[in-house]
């Protein structure tokens, strides 16, 4: 992302307002070293992916934004939103990417992600507004720290939540073990509850009944623009 320039984080992630200034000033900044190999002078990272984050329509400042490879969620870069809620990343090459915005206030989603594709090396991408406000969405049952019987076919665990008041395309529940390994994902549908019989669907848990122990669960919500939001995690113990 930052080839040719120093490792200062300001070069790696920029707000749209700084993009022009950065390009003009690039040759003047002492922090940059000239790339002498191609005889065209110092290279500067070119911000080519920009977006902005809102909270219920208002600019959301100082929120952490990560640039991740969509395939494996590897974090490639990160920045914070500026006073206008804007952010940008430079030198984002071709491929499938996602940005992840983490909420930091009560009533926010825990996180919001949006995928996008960069088609060509110098493509400019303007992402739509990412609304980190949860609009009332929250997990309901089981309560945080609840102790419940291990679920079975005939006594399944009921997971309940509240959907955001803005239209959601789908919601799904996800269960993880204490190490953060995925145990079970429900199917995606517009629903405020789902039952789980204790049989895993993910990774090493696929084909197995979940053993007793501590787990977390959360709900993921999908929207028509392709963005996905995560509600806060809850702890649950299966006894």
């Amino acid at each position: 992302m930052t080839a040719g320039c120093g490792s200062g984080s300001g070069w790696r992630a920029m707000t749209p307002r700084t993009i022009t200034a950065v390009v003009l000033a690039a040759g003047l900044l002492g922090g940059c070293e000239a790339d002498l190999h191609d005889d065209v002078g110092p290279r500067v990272p070119v911000p080519n992916v920009a977006g902005h984050v809102v909270r219920a329509g208002e600019a959301a400042e100082e929120l952490k934004v990560e640039l991740r490879r969509a395939a494996d969620a590897t974090v490639i870069d990160s920045t914070d939103t500026d006073d206008d809620g804007e952010f940008a990343f430079a030198d984002v090459g071709p491929g499938l990417w996602e940005v992840k915005v983490s909420g930091d206030e009560e009533g926010d989603f825990e996180a919001l992600t949006a995928e996008f594709t960069v088609a060509a090396p110098e493509s400019l991408m303007a992402l739509g507004a990412l609304d980190v406000w949860a609009y009332g969405a929250m997990p309901i049952e089981p309560e945080d720290g609840a102790r419940v019987a291990r679920p079975t076919l005939f006594a399944p665990l009921l997971l309940q939540w509240r959907l955001p008041s803005r239209a959601a395309d789908w919601a799904r529940a996800q269960v993880y073990d204490v190490a953060g390994e995925a145990v079970w994902f429900s199917d995606k549908r517009v629903s405020t509850e789902v039952t789980w019989n204790g049989l895993g669907s993910e990774g090493t848990y696929a084909g197995q009944f979940v053993p007793a122990g501590d787990y977390t669960w959360r709900v993921k919500v999908g929207f028509a623009d392709g963005s996905e939001a995560r509600l806060d995690r809850r702890q649950v113990r299966f006894e």
């Binding site: 679920p151 079975t152 076919l153 005939f154 399944p156 079970w184 429900s186 199917d187 789902v194 039952t195 789980w196 019989n197 049989l199 669907s201 696929a206 084909g207 009944f209």
Partner: protein
Amino acid sequence: MLDIQLGCQCRVGRAWAATLFVLATAGSDMVSATDIWPVFRGDARHSGVTERDAPYDSMLAWSYATGDSVLYASPAVAADGTVYIGNLDKELVALAAVGMPRWVFVGEGNFRYSSPAIGQDGTIYVGGSDGVLYAVRPDGTRKWTFTAGGPIKTSPNIGPGEIIYFGADDGCLYAVRSDSTLAWSYTTGGIVRSSPAIGPDGTIFFGSADHYLYALWPNGTLRWRAATGGEIKYCSPAVSSDNVVYFGSYDGYLYAVTINQQLVYATYTGHVIRSSPALTPDGRVFIGSGNWLLAVKADGTIDWEYGTEGEVTSSPLYSTDDEVVCVGAQDGVFYCVHDDGVLDWTYTVGEPLRSSPAPGYGNMVHVADVTGVLWSFGIGPSVDVGEREIAGGTRGLMAYPNPSTGRVALRLADDLRAEERIVVLDAAGRCVAVLSGRGRDVRWDGRDRGGVQVAAGSYLFQRVATGCSGRVLILR
């Protein structure tokens, strides 16, 4: 008994063929005591099993374009081999075992999801997308209708007392008497597209998109329900004679649960299950999951997987006699696999198959593709009579199909001995081929002794030892 020439419009592959004359036989020897495949999956328990022979190879008996689009609707077959199937054109079509249309009943909704069910008196029940359960007399006329609260995309099943059970998209399972009155209905939390199976004690089992498998007492009250991790849609449960219920779910698990709520196993297949299980007498299960036909042992472990190039949403048919399991796939291929997992034969239909195969007259198997063409494999009525008395007291050898484009099957009245031969003579009396075989079935590949396809024309078969003879017309 008379031989009659029947004309029917048949379609092979995508091209309409010229009118094909099929040699058919009229007579009571075609009629058995019970219907061959009266409901979806063959019986009230939805076992998916037949004791009849399966086709020996991929020889197509006939195909018939019923109309537009058949999805999960599968054929029902009456005792005389009559095949019933519905389609998107709002038609319920009745075809004779030889592929000739008998009648077409037109409803107000389409029948491409619902398989017909044949009642004790021959009444045919089928659900329409208009939310109407149609009762149709065996002559193709309307008997009565019953209107449910949503489209019917399940296959009716018939329980004790001629109660007809079916599910609908309004989330209800309905129980309707044979006089069209409602006995009861039961509401679930999701649409019902899983067709009900009936256990030996009358318990009704079906799935719902609310993720549950329901067990209802015959009076319509809940006996129990079992939660899965996904919708149960299109997959219909099957009940063994020892009261174990087998069902798949969109969560990728195949479940086996006793009628008394004991989990026997939950086997993870890794793919959505839309297919319904077929149960063998020794406790094995065949089912489609993803692009695979699976064989699952009685302990729940996967015995073998047979891979296809398309999703197996069709439900397998198992022939206990031949130990062969047949199923369609979305890759447009019809598969028959020996129950040890070794491929027996395939036939490329060329269009996706979601419909489930049903056995027919003789060793025939019928299955419909999504364009609405019904494909029939095996040996049907004209050859099953074998060496028969024909006019003048001569015993005749019957060939099938007749006319044929090449391959011909003969079924004999008794086993052909190892040293016995059947000669094939052309119209000039020249011997073009000598056939041997074992058992009652003898095949001719339409080639002469040099391996060259014979020319179009009439050919005479003669069983040397008995003098029985018959003719076949070869078309090129």
